[in-house]
């Protein structure tokens, strides 16, 4: 049998089973990305293969495979009709893959299947690049390589541990190559062709519309919304200044609130007090354009803009985790506003009830100025029995009225929306600002974690002499909200909000630190791996004095460095001679080679004494030294407790032998 015939050998049963299992686990994560029909098709075909094999049925007929292929393609085309994108491509790939396994017979087929699976693994990263997920995909890749390695063994023996060790070694050697190429491989800006570039689906976050309950719903999620790393830790604003500004919401129909159109304005201006703080904001995908800058943004990154009411928006929807460099002034004053804006901020919905009007009139009677009126309303929220709760009663018909007079239980959106209405009824322009408030400080990664549970709604009112002023009615009811974060995991039975308080218990601290570490790992994973861009590459090269490597030079450097690393790795993993006995054997071989040159015939089965005897016949005058070397070798190779001295003497003797 030659190697060609070896490659054509049919697969053994367990080789096929193993291949099927590997294939299944490689495709598995796609079950969550693709249509259920694709997953069903794939599983069905795989099951069919196993069944036909178990029952020792003959190979499936050609027409059956073609029919299945037709069905597979039909399903894919039907599901993604007209939408040729990554989902379509990946679905097609999965369908093909499952059919390939129907006709797999020989080692050669197994190879083809493994290579398609390898390519399939890379498509998994189009859907997620999370740290653990990536690890899973890499493990699958190594297992597939291990499988190919197994296919190349003489016999499929049970000595699989040593096989695994070999492939593990190969992996360890390939990893540095991977890192070098990853850092040095020249990155292009922009895609080669324009399929949908989406990476992961959005986590629901703050949206353009606020309805009663929309934010309290968010608050139940401890998912991370974004993370903020301040260039200077001392710039970290106090908790009561950590307002992350999202959409500004002015229009209402009395039940839900709608964000303004927020087109790119001609110019904007405001006065900032103090120096702006610089920070990097890493936001999770939202499928929206809002970037939650610290109130109020002063400089913004490229491909973003500031709306006329100071929210930052990206030009494209945020469909993958991205990092933006921003600066903000936490202390500011907005003194400019267009008349139209102010007019809009006074519009009232049609469902204002008489008791609301009566209440406003009463409050206004006691308040000489706008300031006094605002204080009076906040006082009302504070003094009356208002409850800050995650699960307020359902208020569908007239949320503001029901909230103010009937239930008095609500979350920030209830307070903000009814507060704005009360302001507008008193001819004070007012609007809602949605966003996030607060954030958890991660001391390990030295950054702020802002979660969905930090979602918040507050208000801005227009005062003649101070402009738009931020007022948070929620803080009137529950001042803790602004100073501490909500703990979304523990909610009291009555629905009252539980705040996070620092736990002093040993376990609590440990848990917290572990969580911080994971969070920090996640952020760094994103900074250095997932978000590694051309910009970051050139910055990294500059900082390490390799800034001159640009374009093709970088490509050459990548190739050269790859080979340098390869050489280092192969030298590092060379089989070392561990045993002194083996070392003695090396010197002895040197000696026999010398004898060989002098014409002494040495058979592979000759022992040292036979060799010495034969040598002494041909070289009688060198008999003493030959005998001495042989005695040393026998001692060093077969004796107990071989000393290094003995070994070095032996080496010297061999070297001196002429």
């Amino acid at each position: 049998m030659n190697l060609k015939e070896f490659n054509k050998q049919p697969l053994k049963d367990f080789q096929l089973y193993l291949l099927t299992v590997l294939l299944f686990f490689s495709v598995l994560p796609h079950f969550f990305n693709l249509s259920i029909y694709i997953s069903l098709f794939f599983t069905a075909v795989l099951g069919l293969r196993i069944v036909t094999y178990r029952l020792k049925l003959k190979a499936l007929p050609r027409w059956f495979i073609f029919l299945s292929l037709a069905i597979g393609i039909f399903v894919v085309v039907f599901l993604y009709s007209g939408k040729i994108g990554k989902d379509f491509g990946v679905s097609l790939l999965v369908a093909m893959l499952s059919l390939k396994i129907l006709e797999v017979k020989t080692r050669r087929d197994a190879y083809v299947l493994c290579f398609i699976t390898g390519f399939m693994l890379v498509t998994q990263f189009l859907y997620s690049q999370e740290i653990l997920f990536s690890l899973y995909i890499f493990v699958m890749a190594v297992l597939i390589l291990g499988y190919l390695f197994w296919l190349n063994q003489a016999a499929w023996n049970v000595d699989s541990v040593s096989n695994l060790k070999s492939i593990f070694r190969l992996t360890l050697q390939a990893l540095p190559v991977m890192v070098v190429l990853f850092i040095l491989f020249p990155r292009l800006q922009g895609p080669l062709w324009g399929f949908d570039q989406g990476v992961s689906s959005a986590v629901t976050g703050i949206s353009d519309t606020i309805t009663p309950g929309s934010i309290s719903q968010l608050s139940r999620s401890s998912a991370t919304a974004f993370r903020v790393k301040f260039d200077d830790i001392n710039d970290l604003p106090a908790p009561e200044y950590r307002y992350w500004r999202g959409p500004v919401i002015t229009q209402t129909d009395g039940i839900s609130w709608q964000a303004d159109k927020n087109e790119k304005p001609d110019k904007i201006s405001y006065q900032s007090k103090g120096t702006p703080v610089n920070y990097q904001l890493t936001i999770e995908p939202t499928q929206q354009q809002w970037l939650f800058a610290l109130d109020l943004p002063s400089t913004i990154p490229s491909k973003t803009f500031v709306t006329s009411n100071y929210s930052v928006k990206t030009e494209e929807k945020i469909n993958k985790r991205s990092t933006y460099a921003l600066s903000s002034s936490p202390y500011y004053a907005i003194k400019d506003s267009s008349d139209y804006e102010l007019l809009e901020a006074l519009l009232l919905p049609t469902n204002i009830t008489p008791r609301m009007t009566r209440f406003v009139n009463e409050m206004m009677k006691d308040s000489p100025s706008d300031q006094d009126y605002i204080s009076a309303i906040l006082n009302f929220f504070n003094k009356q029995e208002f409850v800050y709760t995650l699960s307020p009663p359902v208020m569908l018909d007239n949320p503001a009225d029901e909230f103010l007079f009937d239930h008095r239980k609500g979350f920030c959106e209830h307070y903000a929306s009814s507060f704005v209405l009360l302001m507008r009824m008193a001819d004070i322009p007012a609007r809602i600002v949605a966003g996030y408030q607060g954030g958890e400080w991660n001391p390990t990664g030295e950054h702020l974690i802002v979660r969905q549970s930090d979602a918040h709604a507050w208000t801005e009112v227009w005062l003649e002499d101070s402009g738009w002023v931020r007022i948070d009615p929620t803080s009137a009811v529950s001042p803790e909200r602004v100073e501490q974060s909500i703990d979304p995991t523990s909610e009291s039975s009555t629905g009252e909000v539980v705040f996070k308080i620092s736990s002093d218990s040993m376990l609590g601290t440990l848990y917290k630190e572990a969580a911080w570490m994971l969070d920090s790992l996640d952020l760094n994973w994103h900074r250095w791996v997932v978000g590694f861009s051309q910009k970051r590459q050139s910055r990294l090269l500059d900082s390490s004095g390799l800034g001159f490597l640009k374009g093709y030079k970088l490509g050459i450097a990548a190739i050269v460095m790859t080979f340098v690393v390869l050489i280092v790795m192969t030298l590092l993993f060379r089989n070392k001679i561990k045993d002194k006995r083996d070392q003695a054997r090396v010197y002895w071989d040197k000696f026999t080679r010398k004898l060989n040159k002098k014409g002494i015939k040495i058979e592979p089965y000759d022992g040292p004494e036979t060799i010495a005897m034969n040598a002494a016949i041909i070289l009688p005058e060198q008999k003493p030294s030959i005998d001495l070397i042989t005695r040393y070798y026998i001692k060093a190779h077969y004796g107990k407790n071989v000393s290094s001295k003995l070994l070095s003497d032996f080496k010297k003797l061999v070297a001196e032998f002429r």
Partner: protein
């Protein structure tokens, strides 16, 4: 295809060392990707294009990981041949139409085991694959069907491997330096044109033979139990061994005249059969063709000498 042998001569070949071994050295090893290797490269390239397009950094990572594996595997495939020591054993003569067993011993002097190695001749047509354990050796047996009588020169031997992943094929040529004899194919029956001379042998009945019973002698150790006269033993007259003889009574001199009417190859086949028959029948025989004569004798060596003469009949002895 006819170009290939010439190319092989141009190629670097490993020469036999003075000690009779072939040592595979770094400069004598060739390496090229296999069909699987090309497929693998295509996969990596497709992954790279995809990763660039989607600016997917994890995609880049996996691509570069596979690329690293590819280059490493090239190195290990090459390493799997390096420093092997090969001993070519003398091939036993065979009859035309039979299969010769060409034996190689591959020694692995290093303390790392060698994965599957293929030893082949005749453009991989005839091959054997085996692994060689660390600091050990392994016998490789290549079956060679032979058609024509005479010397058979073994083609350049190729030592190849695709270990560990089958992505690359590394190989090395061993300079051809081995030949063996192919005897003429024996014909089915010895039917000479004229009856050969069977001359009686003077001391025929004194030798140790197998045909006719001659006498008893006392049992000696190592006598075959088949030759013990058990009937004598049953009569309680002790162990006696039966002696046979009489089979050397005839001498047979073979020559081309006996088969002169037949075509040459058939004639040689006929004589081959005669020699084989004479050897098994314990007939003393000799061979006389053209200018060579082998005196009447008997035994293995004699038989091979006669067969060799027939094998090389009309050919340059080499």
């Amino acid at each position: 295809m006819s170009l290939l042998p010439d190319l092989k001569k141009l190629a670097r070949q490993t020469q036999k060392n003075k000690d009779g071994f072939y040592y595979i050295q770094a400069r004598k090893i060739y390496i090229l990707p296999t069909r699987f290797g090309l497929m693998f490269a295509t996969m990596v390239l497709a992954m790279l294009v995809g990763s660039i397009n989607y600016a997917n950094n994890l995609g880049f990572m996996l691509t570069f990981f596979f690329a690293g594996i590819g280059v490493l595997v090239m190195h290990y495939t090459w390493l799997n041949l390096l420093n092997l020591k090969i001993q070519v054993l003398q091939t036993e003569p065979v009859f035309a139409g039979q299969t010769a067993s060409f034996h190689l011993i591959i020694h692995n002097p290093n303390n790392r085991p060698r994965g599957l190695i293929e030893a082949s001749v005749n453009k991989n047509q005839h091959a054997c694959i085996n692994a060689v354990p660390a600091e050990s050796h392994q016998l490789f047996k290549i079956e060679l069907p032979v058609k024509n009588r005479g010397w058979y020169s073994v083609d350049t031997t190729t030592i190849a491997t695709q270990y560990p992943l089958g992505l690359f094929r590394a190989w090395s040529y061993l300079e051809a330096d081995s030949k063996f004899l192919v005897y003429p194919k024996p014909s089915n029956q010895w039917t000479p044109d004229k009856t050969p001379d069977y001359s009686p042998n003077a001391n025929g009945s004194k030798g140790v033979g197998a045909d006719d019973f001659i006498a008893h002698r006392n049992y000696r150790q190592s006598d075959s139990p088949r030759q013990i006269d058990w009937k004598v033993f049953a009569r309680e007259k002790g162990l006696m061994t039966k002696q046979f003889g009489g089979d050397r009574n005839e001498q047979l001199m073979l020559n081309m005249d006996l088969v002169k009417d037949l075509p040459l190859e058939t004639a040689l086949s006929m004589l081959t059969r005669a020699i084989l028959d004479a050897e098994t029948d314990h007939v003393l025989y000799g061979l006389e063709i053209t200018n060579a004569k082998i005196a009447v004798s008997h035994g293995d060596q004699h038989m091979h000498a006669c067969l060799k003469l027939l094998a090389l009949y009309g050919q340059d002895t080499g």
